[in-house]
Amino acid sequence: MNKIINPTRRSLLKRSAALGAMSAIGTSIAMPSWASGHLRDPAAILDDISVANYVRKDYQDLYEMSGDPLWDPNKDWIRTVDWEKVRQELSGTTVRFAVGAADAESALAGLAPFEALSGITVEVVPIPDDSMYDKVLAEFISGNASFDALQFFSPWLGDFAAPGFLHELDDFAEKWSLPLDDFYDTYRMNYGFFNGKMYGIPFDCDIQMVHVRKSYMETILGGEVDVVNSIPTYDELIRVSGELNKIEPGVSGVGMMAAPGFWSTYTWEHISAQAGMMLFDENWEPIFNGDEGMKGLDTILQLSKNANEGHAGAGWPENRAAWLGGQVATNISWQDSGTQGMRPDQSNIVDDFVTIYEPRIAGGRFAPPNIAGSTSCVAASAQNAEGAFLMLGFLTTASIMAMNEANANGVAPGYRSVLENEELRKVSQPAKVWGESLDHAWCSPRLPGAFPIEQAIGNEINRAVVGQITGQEALDNAAVAVRRIMSENGFYQGNDPVDYAAAEPGLYVGEGKPLPF
């Protein structure tokens, strides 16, 4: 996941293939040939979408990858869908795909196989990264968006779906047998559905986790790290981070993101979810400033005493650099900390860390947080909605997503069949813990106005972290601000844009399930 407000496709589409192989595939079909009705055999094209061609050579060598698939071919949509049928119905049509800034070129390269398989031409519409939100919204509002398909930061789903800017996808999913049930519930429900209808295909499926450094932990444990029991609670994490703090010069006990804005919000949501916090009640009134939310914030304030120097200004780029550089003994961050840490070209801590199960909080529940992420949608005004859907199905298919994970580019798969795959687990250290955690995931609701809400909460939390105000004041201020933003977005007026009953099941999927350990 690219933890900036507007994820760039650079990660996926550039890294998803050794670019040489990609362009080889792309140029092996002379573009106009489909028009003359002569397309390459789909099986041959699909064979080229393989570990050998898509995963970085140095990683293939490092992990002695055999070339066996990191996914289940039966659940890999591109290998199960009937491409001949696709060609019959849609060959010759065009899909316009909104892509962020720097990725326009690599996007086309990454989509060349799709064009070969389907006969559909893809036009890339570059959208400014830094103002993707407003540019996309402006186009939607104009009623005549210049694109058919787009991928965006999943918290914005509410902003785009509520006013009806997105095309419903239920029929397409059924017709083309998209393996929706292979997605973990939390992703399918929150990234894919809104008010009971399907609007998106989950793309980058994020989760926040806790990672610890083996060597340091072992000095205080006296033995190996147990991913279940070494740090079973957050109180324990506070204690451990205190002991590990300054264990070596320049090493801090814990790393976390507490910069103003949504970074702080995410860290706080992460921990508070374990305390049992929900953001809203069934009337969409903010209740996060209650005990559970305070417990989460208190924990942050305690941890902050043992945190690295820059945590009050750390977003994902800073936190990632600190973790991979070895500046922290434990880290509260996304799952990619666990994968990228394994890669010697980026990391100083290879083989010296492990991702553990989410620490619990007494009186709370096991609720690993599904935070951020991105989803892929079709514009309501799309000229070629079905073609756009198929293209998105291609981009989000299990095999390509699995290979993204193998390339450690931060774009994460949300499929059971992938995270449970043995070959994938060899190249993705957190995969087992990650996959098992997802059946208990917590998630924030997709609301219109989610972005300013996340900013407002995070700004207040940051103030508490630096000691300007108390934790309770921060959460109370945040609740007031959130309420105001929500009413500006149509809530509390008798016709809420989001039906609570429809959203509720996705907010916590672990109810009543036995723990994975």
Binding site: N2, K3, I4, T8, R10, S11, K14, R15, A101, A102, A104, P126, I127, P128, D129, D130, S131, E248, P249, G250, V251, W316, P317, E318, R320, A321, A322, L324, G325, G326, Q327, P344, D345, Q346, S347, N348, N409, G410, V411
Partner: protein, 280 residues
């Protein structure tokens, strides 16, 4: 204009202590940053900073292959060159008018031009954003050119004006008595006479254009229009996080030409920076 004073003075030691310390303060971070540019990525952020590190050209290869560095350069050069041309075309006549003619409102016009130097970009950022967006010029080099030209016009005008006031009136009078029209005088006599001023103005405008950040951030959003100044901010958010060695190299890439050009005009620098108020 004297540039050397007698060296004999008390406290030579103090003088060199102070000047030397500041020189260290200036150059230390620069040298260190240069070393960052030539390191492997994993040696930049570590628990304790690595002062002497391995040499690596990774970043150099990266900025050219993984990023459209050539495009950023092209955009920077094109936008800057274009904006300077616009500025000179507008400023030279204006400067001549302010320098040589006396007419009602001259002081006010001159001051108005000067005052646009004071305009904080943030004040007009939003309207300019909407303006360019409505004109469909967002994310184009043209927009950058227009904006840079606007930012620098006051500086360029006043610098050239200052140099024009230095020209002895006799030169013009002689030409006029030969029957030359005003425009010809401007073109054939004045401009050549103020060439140092024109060059200085162009250089300073160039520097400010290279440095420009806020407008470029708002206007440019793809490699079609990113300049080097804003492209740096690019090296922070992608899947690779902060890539300092690339940032360092780009910083030096932009530094070297600016340094060379400024050294060439350093005699005129203070006059340029103060828009003519202080002769150097």
């Amino acid at each position: 204009m004297a540039s050397v004073r007698r060296t004999k003075s008390e406290n030579l030691f103090i003088r060199y202590l102070i000047l030397g310390s500041w020189a260290l303060f200036c150059l230390g971070p620069v040298i260190w940053f240069l070393s960052i540019g030539f390191r492997p990525r994993t040696e930049i952020i570590t628990p304790q900073p690595i002062y002497i590190s391995a040499l690596s050209l990774d970043a150099w290869h990266m900025i050219w292959s993984d990023w459209p560095m050539a495009k950023y350069l092209r955009n920077s050069v094109a936008a800057i060159f274009g904006s300077v041309v616009i500025d000179l075309a507008l400023a030279i006549p204006a400067a001549y008018s302010l320098a040589r003619y006396k007419y009602r409102g001259r002081e006010d016009i001159g001051f108005y031009i000067l005052s646009t130097r004071m305009m904080a970009p943030a004040i007009v950022a939003i309207p300019i954003f909407f303006l360019f967006r409505n004109m469909g010029l967002l994310d184009t080099i043209w927009a950058l050119m227009l904006i840079y030209a606007a930012i620098n016009l006051s500086i360029v005008t006043w610098i050239i004006r200052s140099y024009m006031t230095d020209i002895p009136k006799e030169l013009e009078d002689a030409a006029r008595t030969d029957g030359a029209g005003d425009l010809r005088i401007l073109w054939e006599i004045i401009i050549p006479a103020v060439l140092p001023g024109v060059i200085t103005a162009a250089v300073i405008a160039m520097i400010f254009a290279i440095n420009e950040f806020l407008f470029t951030l708002l206007i440019a959003s793809t490699p079609d229009a990113y300049t080097m100044s804003v492209a740096l901010a690019n090296f922070t958010g992608g899947s690779d996080g902060l890539i300092y060695n690339a940032i360092a190299l780009v910083a030096f890439l932009a530094f070297v030409p600016v340094f060379l050009v400024v050294i060439a005009i350093q005699k005129h620098l203070s006059r340029g920076l103060t828009m003519g108020a202080v002769k150097g």
